[in-house]
């Protein structure tokens, strides 16, 4: 039976949704529209003079090897973050699913890092792995590893991937654990009776059954790596060395805020907006449809 609640008042529903609408318009739509407008302007930092230049900002971006490199860096970064955080989370979730004693304690501890703000996580990792004062650097040097991400781009990438994944593992862990617990025990027991070992059971039964969760997490993690890792990058490498960790979102911030080039920065954020729209469409078409509420 369908339940339907109807407001009798003509204005009350609008008044009730107004706060949310106002917040969305002021903090999301308005800036987005201004960014779209700015993307077609070249202006000085103080806004004293501005010229309408059509698509010049976009054309310059796609002619800039620097910007195209940033795309590659972002792709590599998000694939690494998604792969590392998801595989680790799945491993932990499978283990936690087997734990009989003190399961709550394990689960709580594994979820903790999610409460850490990205910037704080970044600062912590930067401290531990700092080339001049880091404790890990000290031991790595004893092992003969010259750890200096200030100049070594691959090490810098490794650092930001670790710092960004660290947090996301907890989030993925939660979803994987829920996915694992929704698999009927009888199915796994049946497979066990048929003689399938734990590894075989995992790959032929469990993994396919949690694949909707995996696909959902893949999209969520890529979106996270694309847009929510700004704090991690800013607190650690700030895009360096030699732009080895300059992901698209960081470049938007850097060009707009630090370099005061609002036109190019706005054009970049419009491009990012298109990417996020595309990802959302993918999510709705291929994932949400399969989920039954």
């Amino acid at each position: 039976m369908e339940k339907r609640v109807v407001f009798k008042s003509a204005w009350l529903p609008y008044a009730l949704v107004a706060p949310q609408i106002i917040i969305t318009v002021v903090f999301f739509f308005w800036p987005a529209i201004v960014a779209m407008y700015y993307a077609f302007l070249v202006q000085d930092p103080f806004g004293l003079s501005s010229h309408f230049v059509w698509f010049q900002n976009f054309i310059e971006l796609f002619h800039s090897s620097n910007y195209l490199d940033s795309f590659k860096v972002t792709a590599l970064f998000s694939v690494l973050v998604a792969a590392v955080s998801m595989s680790l989370a799945l491993l932990l979730a499978v283990m936690a699913d087997h734990v009989l004693r003190g399961a709550v304690v394990y689960k709580t501890l594994l979820i903790w890092p999610y409460a850490v703000a990205p910037a704080i996580a970044g600062v912590l990792w930067a401290f531990i792995f700092s080339p001049s004062i880091g404790i890990v650097t000290y031991y790595l040097l004893k092992l003969g590893v010259n750890w200096n991400w200030v100049i070594n781009g691959n090490q810098a990438m490794l650092l930001v991937v670790m710092a960004a994944s660290y947090k996301q593992v907890s989030y993925n862990f939660l979803f994987f654990l829920a996915g694992l617990q929704s698999i009927p025990k009888s199915m796994i027991e049946a497979a066990a009776i048929d003689g399938a070992g734990p590894i075989r059971r995992f790959w032929t039964i469990i993994f396919p059954l949690i694949s909707p969760t995996t696909f959902f997490l893949l999209v969520v993690n890529i979106v996270y790596a694309f847009f929510d890792t700004f704090g991690v990058i800013d607190a650690t490498t700030q895009g360096g060395p030699a732009a080895a960790t300059e992901i698209l979102v960081y470049k938007v911030y850097y060009d707009g805020v630090k370099a005061a080039d609002l036109g190019s920065s706005s054009a970049q954020s419009v491009i990012l907006m298109l990417i996020v729209i595309a990802l959302t469409v993918v999510q709705f078409r291929f994932i949400e449809r399969k989920v039954q509420y």
Binding site: V42, Q43, D44, P45, F46, G47, L48, S49, S50, H51, S64, N66, P131, S132, I133, N148, V150, I151, N152, G153, G240, P241, A242, A243, D255, V257, K258, A259, A260, D261, G263, S264
Partner: protein
């Protein structure tokens, strides 16, 4: 109870607002943290106590780029501070913002305050003046790059004196390495040191049009064989394990102060920290130079920051700012600032006063920077630089230097790319400020 306390608070707030109205408030946004920040508050308090018409309120607004960004946003929103401290690389951006800023020479004239640009050290005044010699911003904290050596490490390696030339520097670096020194050389501010000051020190241009001071249509030219030689030297040292890259800001200073690295090129501003931390004998010297370059060494250029006066305030505020600037220029205040922070004294009178006080006899290292800055009268190549969006430009140079140090590009390729990318930024700035 709580209600009463609240009423009392409101009353106090109203009272203090009333008493403040009698005075003209002057907001001063700055980026001086820690010890230097205390000194800034000190100066403001002294000025406020010396008269009762104006009240300077210093506000710490984060790092240099952060406070500049904040001020730009505040200007757009119509509530910029009266005084803004801007680092040297932001100079061209501020200068081009006609209407958003009031040039200091005009401010002083309008306020009828005595003002003589010749009272300031020439390399300092030159950096912040237009081609006609009009001072645009008020020099505040100025520094330059100097060369630090760990004398204990030198003695251990059997080196009797600090290298004067880069040739000698390379030989000494080898000696230090074979004496067991783990980290031989590091640097702070790589672009400021090895491109900007390097060019001035060898009297070669960084960009056309007097390093951008004579026009927005300037181009970078720091990819000459001499510049390539310098970067190649660093690449070679890095390959031999004799140059440790520490980052784009002052990170290298900690490596020297801890004794890890035996040689350092970085800001004079590092001295206060090194003095406090170093557990070894150290000294300060002129930057090394290539002795086959004619005219080298010339003079080094300054870094640090200056105070810009923002537009759109009342004449009364400007009068107060002018009086405050004259207060800051007083020799005793300058000497105090110089001695306690390690920044340079910006007027000749303050320099003379510090000399007479005998401070340099106890701390000869504090005078090296001034001597290096005033080594010769500045030329068009060594009086400073003024490139649009140079905040971005300098980072481009540093990015390309990092690519060379990491072995991803040759020194020549890195400098060519830095010049090409830097010129794109300059053209864009020129277009935006037509």
């Amino acid at each position: 109870m709580i209600r009463k306390a609240f009423v009392a608070l409101v009353a106090i707030g109203a009272l203090s607002a009333m008493s403040a109205q009698a005075q003209t408030e002057i907001q001063w946004w700055h980026s001086m943290a820690g010890l230097n920040g205390d000194k800034v508050n000190d100066l403001a308090n002294k000025f406020n106590a010396s008269q009762n018409r104006y009240k300077v309120i210093p506000v710490y607004k984060g790092s240099y780029p952060e406070s500049m960004t904040a001020a730009i946003a505040a200007y757009r929103a119509g509530n910029a501070p009266a005084i803004l401290q801007v680092f040297e690389v932001g100079t061209a951006t501020m200068m081009a913002a006609k209407g958003a800023v009031v040039p200091v020479y005009k401010l002083m004239k309008d306020a009828d305050e005595p003002f003589d640009p010749k009272a300031y050290l020439p390399p300092v005044a030159g950096y912040y003046s237009d081609p006609h010699g009009n001072m645009l911003s008020f020099p505040f904290n100025s520094s330059t790059v100097v060369f630090y050596t760990n004398d204990d490490a030198f003695r251990k390696a059997g080196i009797s004196e600090a290298p004067k030339t880069w040739k000698q520097f390379i030989a000494d670096a080898d000696k230090l390495k074979s004496s067991g020194q783990g980290c031989v050389y590091t640097t702070g501010w790589p672009a400021w040191t090895h491109i900007e000051n390097f060019s001035a020190w060898h009297n070669v241009p960084i960009g056309t049009k007097e390093n951008g001071m004579a026009g927005l249509d300037t181009r970078f030219v720091f990819n000459t064989p001499l510049h390539v030689r310098q970067i190649q030297m660093l690449v070679d040292l890095a390959k031999k394990g004799e140059f440790t890259y520490a980052g784009r800001q002052s990170q290298g200073e900690a490596k020297f102060a801890s004794g890890e690295c035996a040689m350092l090129t970085s800001s004079t501003g590092a001295q206060a920290n090194i003095r406090r931390q170093a557990k070894f004998k150290w000294s300060v010297h002129f930057l090394p130079y290539w002795d086959d370059v004619k005219g080298a060494p010339q003079n080094s250029i300054i870094g640090g920051a200056s105070l810009w006066v923002m537009g759109g305030k009342t004449p009364n505020v400007y009068k107060g700012v002018a009086e405050f600037f004259n207060f800051l220029s007083r020799p005793e205040n300058q000497m105090d600032w110089h001695v306690s922070t390690g920044y340079l004294p910006i007027t000749m009178a303050a320099y003379e006063m510090t000399k007479k006080s005998g401070f340099y006899e106890q701390h000869p290292e504090a005078e090296v920077a001034i001597k290096q800055l005033m080594n010769k009268p500045p030329t068009a190549n060594s009086k400073g630089l003024r490139f649009g969006n140079y905040v971005q430009g300098r980072e481009v140079i540093e990015e390309e230097m990092e690519a060379a140090f990491a072995g991803k590009k040759s020194a020549k390729q890195a400098l060519d790319d830095a010049v090409r990318r830097g010129n794109e930024i300059l053209r864009k700035f020129e277009a935006a400020n037509r």
